[in-house]
Each structure stands twice: as C-alpha cells, then as structure tokens.
C-alpha cells in the first residue's frame, strides 16, 4: 500500500462491468492475481460467483443449529420446570412428565429460535445494518441495485497499488473506473 492512498483516505477502486458473465470472469481474474480484499456487487445473486471469488463456506449453518439447539433444550427445560418442578398439577394421577403432549410447543420454539438465528445471524455475518459506506459516495454505484455489476478492490489489500489495480480492472473489461474515498 503506497503512502499516498493512506493519506488520501482512499477506500478502493470501483469498476463497472456489463453483465453477470463479465463480472464472474473479472472476479476470477482478480482472485488469480492474488487479491484478497475485494468484493463484487450485483442486483441479484449470480450463479457460480462464489467459486470465481473463492468464497469460503458460509458459517450461517452453525449459527442456526446452535440457536435451534437452544430452542429445543431451552423449551423442554422451561416446560419441565413449569409442569413438573414448580407447580405440578395432579390430573387423575396422570404422569407429570407428559412428553408427547409437549412436542408441539417444543417444535415451535425450536423453529422460532432457529429462524432468529438464520435472520439475525445472516445480518451479523454481513455486518449489517451499516447505514453508511464509502461506496455510497459513488453516484454510479446506485446502479448496483438496479442493473449494474461492479467490482471494488479495496486499498486495505496488501497488493494494492492504484495504477496496477486500474490496469487490471481495465484489462478485465471494466468501465467507469473511479477511485472511492472514505470521507
């Protein structure tokens, strides 16, 4: 990282691509060039871009299953406490530990907690909500939620060099190349 980019507070360099195919090819190329701190942007998820960007498997599954287990064990413990330990009700001598009848509530609470894990875990992994971001300074970037396909190589990347990155993006077919500043 050159000294000037730090002083300039540069976030990264943004380039636009024409379509999903070019974006995937560009991601492949950037990845092959050894960049780590970059991201691609598209209005919808693109098939196969995870491989092109060499993304690691999402950790979300682990978050969901841990929430689900808390729901499962927690709801059982709650019902056990309420129906057996804290206020046992003797109904014609029937068993207090009536597990079959508890299944519906245990199931529902397991699903509920898992869903919380799936939604809030996803936002957590994505670092959202994040209401401002240097990329929002770019007027052109507004197309990313409409029909624009973008790549941004971040200045944090150890290989980052303004000129090198600009040529790389241009060679990959990028247009509207602009420097993004964090201010």
């Amino acid at each position: 990282m050159s000294k000037s980019t730090v002083e300039n507070n540069m976030y990264g360099i943004l380039a636009e691509f024409r379509n999903p195919k070019e974006l995937v090819d560009a991601a492949k190329k950037i990845n092959q060039n050894g960049f780590k701190k970059y991201d691609t942007f598209s209005p919808f998820p693109i098939h196969g871009i995870d491989k092109a960007m060499n993304l690691p498997k999402s950790k979300l599954g682990w978050i969901v299953i841990s929430h689900g287990l808390v729901g499962l064990i927690g709801s059982f413990a709650m019902i056990y406490f309420m129906m057996v330990a804290d206020y046992p009700l003797n109904i014609s001598g029937k068993t207090l530990l009536n597990i079959p009848a508890w299944i519906p509530v245990i199931f529902e609470l397991t699903v509920l907690l898992s869903a919380f894990g799936a939604v809030f875990g996803m936002f957590f992994l994505n670092g959202l909500p994040k209401f401002n971001h240097p990329l929002f300074n770019s007027e052109n970037f507004k197309k990313a939620t409409d029909d624009g396909f973008f790549v941004c190589i971040e200045s944090d990347d150890p290989q980052f060099d303004t000129e090198k990155v600009q040529t790389l993006l241009k060679d990959a077919g990028g247009t509207n190349i602009e420097e993004i500043y964090d201010n």
């Binding site: 070019e22 995870d50 799936a118």
Partner: protein, 478 residues
C-alpha cells in the same frame, strides 16, 4: 405404434422483452408514482371496515361474549370458523415462498412477495379471534408463560396453548422471511427514489444493503434455511389448528385424518385467495407480463389437486365413521348431510369438491375471468367447511335432549366483515409502499442473469431450445 410427438418448450417466466432495468422500473415505479385516486377510494372503504372491526371488538370487550350467538350446546361459532379460515388462507403464502422455493419452482418469484404479504395480514386477522374470544381479554397474557399473580403456569398439555405457540411462531417467522426478501428491494427503491423522506425511510429499512456478493452468499444460505424451517412450520401450524378439534372427544372431530385434511384445505383456500387478489392487482398495476396466464394455470392446477384431496378427505371421513362402528360418529356424518345444517354441507360440497374439478379443462384453467369466479367460490366453500365442522358436531352431539340450532348474531357478522377492513388496509399500504414483486428474485430468473447464457466476448446469447428426438420403438424395447 406410431405417434407424432410434439415438444412443448417451457414457457418464458417473464413475458415481454424485459431486461433488468425495465423490470426494476416496472415494479418500483408503482411505489414512486403519485398515489392513484382509486387507491384512496379503496383505502377509505377499508378504513371504514376497519373501524367496524374496532367498534365491534370494543363492544365485545364492554359487553362480553354474550353478544355473539354462542350458547349451550354450541360454544364455538364464527370466531373459531373465522380464525381457521384466515389462518388457512395464510398458508398459501408460505407454501409459495418456502415449499415451491425448495422444489426450485422458479415461477414462484412472480407471486411470492405478494402471497407472503397476504399471509402476514391473514394471520393478523386470524389472531384477533382467539384473543378476543376469551371473554376477559385483560388477562390474555395468561396464555404466555409469564409469571402471574396466581403463581400458575399455562397448561402445556392443552391444544389451545399449542395453538398460541404455533400461530405466534408462524407470524414471527413469516414476517422475518418476508423482511429478509424485502431488504434488497428496499435498497433498490432507496437508490432510485427522489424524495428526501423516502430516502431516509427506505434507506433505514434497507439496512445499508449494497448488493455485495459476499453478502448474497450468506443471504442465499439464510433464505434457504428459512425456507427449510418454514416448510415444516406451515405444516405444523395447521396440524396444531386441527388438534384444537381432533384432540377433543366430540364426534366428527376426534379423527386422525384432521391434520393432513386441514393442511390440504388450507393450501386450497390460500391459493384461491392469492388468485383473487392477484387477478385484480395484475390488471390495475399492469403486471400481466410478470404474473402471466401461465402462473394462473399452474395455480389452478394446485387448486384442483388440493381440492381433490379435500374431496377425498370428505369421502374418507364418511368411510371411517362407518368402519369405526361408533354410533355417534356414524350419526354425525349422516346428520351433516341430511340434518339441520344440510344446506351448509351441500354448499361446502358444491364449492370445494365439484367446482375445482372444472380445471381439468385447459381452456378454463387459462381463463382469467372464470378463474376469478372459481377463486371466490372456493373461499366461500372453505368458510363453510369450517362452519360444518365446528357447528354441526357441537349442536348435535351425544344427547339428543341437548341438541340445539346455532345462529350467529349481528355482532358475529360485522366482526367478520370488519376483519376484511383490517386485511385490506394493510394490503393496500403494502401495494402502495412496498415492491409487490420480489425485484431481485425475478431478475435472477431472467435468462440474462445466468452467466452461461453469454458467449466468449460477453455478448448475450439466449439459450437455444433443444428439441429432443422422440424415443424410437426399437430403443424402448432394447
């Protein structure tokens, strides 16, 4: 055996010559245009009905459940019927958004946002009834496991308590699923809208979404897990609703067929409701290229299938009643078809069993006006199904000396009518302020979205339909 084969290619999911930009404009411009006059009229009418609902609930709380037509022997009436009816309608939304997603039915993207919104508002309408029917609504919190002044806990062995957990979980999960789907589309509006207030509001709810593929990667995983969670959830919810009846000992209720039969009925009525709303909306907002006749046809097939399942369940109930050898069980089914409520029973049979069978005809399946008519007939039929189940079994059960005829009162009727006010108030707000088609999802099913549909130079090269050779007789034998 000689036969001429004709290869029918899969119809395009989005009609017309749309690209990403035109789809964004088609859908989100609806939210950014000035409000149409017709919307205010519809919203005004819905608001009046909403006030009718609020007033009738207010009077109910003031006066007590005696204002309804409930009395011995029928202690359950319109409130439970309306509850089951509205919850059932909601199920189609989850079916479309979750189950069809897991089955990779890409056509669902045109209607899933819409149907999920319907689910949420239908469950709100449903939830009102069990809450207000308790009589002393100020202690409704007793249904939740919250420490209270009696130091007692709710009874987790009771189906009515299962219902509380099932419906509240269902509402929460549906809302989360809907919101997750909305986030990228809210970001689309945030980036397009001109007004300052709009920018702040849409921007807040879009949570700073910027379409990063590192985010989409987790997002898609989350969406799939939610679909996987919502699928057993939706089946469990109507199963538990049917347990309200099936776990009791009343003849006609105490049957094991209830869970699958209720779920099939729920999907049946829900699809009909989606069609009713969709046929109006696609016309008014000019979305015929997205919600095409092909969609209507596919939904009609689902209505036909689930309608036949419901019809089969009616037959099976009769068979099992006879086969069980239980006198009361046999009697109630004969009474349903011939007794004091025979009129309701035959309305139910006509609307639910006979009417969907017309969709064997391809011509009628693709007829929009006719579909609209049948969708309303089906919803009437499904309301009567719940009426027949709830009312006949209670009013003519074990002891003929305690039989009675149940009729609703004025307040029963206007509370039900009022729930339409609640439903349409929210639905109209949804149509006005939120993208009614999942913009990001529908873009992803365009042929332009698949990187494989581009040539080496990066030019779009639409996939050619390969017509397979018909299998020759000799090959079949070999």
């Amino acid at each position: 055996m000689s036969k001429t084969y004709e290869y029918v290619p899969e119809p395009a999911l989005v009609k017309g010559n749309h690209d990403f930009k035109s789809l964004t404009a088609l859908i989100t411009d609806i939210n950014m245009r000035p409000t149409p006059k017709g919307w205010y009229i519809a919203f005004g009418i819905s608001n009046i009905l909403l006030f009718v609902l609020l007033f009738s609930i207010g009077y109910l709380i003031w006066e007590g459940t005696g204002i309804w037509g409930l009395n011995a022997p029928a202690g359950w009436g319109w409130a439970i019927i309306n509850f089951v009816w509205w919850v059932g309608i909601g199920h189609a939304g989850t079916l479309i958004s979750a189950i069809l997603f897991l089955f990779r039915q890409d056509w669902r993207t045109a209607i899933n946002r819409f149907a999920e919104a319907m689910t949420i508002f239908a469950v709100m309408c449903a939830g009102i009834f069990p809450a207000i029917h308790v009589g002393r609504i100020w202690v409704i919190y007793w249904v939740f496991p919250i420490p209270n002044q009696m130091a007692m806990w709710p009874n987790f062995n009771s189906p009515l308590l299962w219902d509380v957990f099932a419906v509240s979980t269902y509402f929460t999960v549906s809302l989360l699923f809907w919101y997750v789907g909305l986030v990228p589309d809210l970001a689309t509006i945030r980036d397009r809208i001109k007004s300052k207030i709009g920018k702040v509001l849409y921007g807040t709810f879009a949570l700073g979404w910027r379409g990063s593929n590192r985010h989409w990667w987790n997002y898609e995983k989350s969406y799939m897990i939610l679909a996987g969670l919502a699928t057993p959830l939706v089946l469990s919810v109507h199963t538990i609703v049917s347990f309200d009846f099936a776990v009791s000992l009343i003849p006609g209720w105490h049957t094991t067929i209830f869970p699958p039969y209720f779920v099939a009925g729920a999907v049946f009525s829900g699809f009909a409701m989606v069609l009713t709303l969709m046929i109006i909306v696609r016309k008014i907002y000019g979305l015929e290229e997205i919600m095409t006749v092909d969609h209507i046809e596919k939904m009609n097939i689902i209505i036909m299938v689930t309608g036949s399942m419901v019809g089969f369940a009616y037959l099976m109930e009769f068979f099992v009643a006879w086969y069980s050898g239980v006198e009361y069980e046999k009697a109630i089914f004969i009474l349903r078809a011939t007794g004091p409520y025979a009129w309701a029973y035959w309305i139910m049979i006509t609307c639910n069993v006979i009417s969907p069978q017309v969709f064997w005809s391809k011509k009628l399946r693709r007829n929009v006006a006719f579909t609209f008519f049948i969708s309303i007939v089906v919803n009437i039929g499904m309301w009567f199904e719940r009426f027949v189940i709830a009312v006949t079994s209670l009013s003519t059960d074990f002891l003929p000396s305690s039989w009675g005829y149940y009729s609703p009162t004025f307040w029963d009727v206007i509370t039900y009518v009022g729930t339409f006010g609640l439903f349409f108030t929210f639905f109209l707000l949804f149509l006005r302020f939120l993208p009614m088609v999942a913009v990001a999802e529908i873009k992803a099913i365009l042929p332009q979205a698949d990187p494989h549909n581009y040539d080496e130079k990066g030019e779009f090269n639409p996939p050619k339909v390969e017509i397979p050779e018909p299998v020759k007789d000799s090959e079949q034998k070999g």
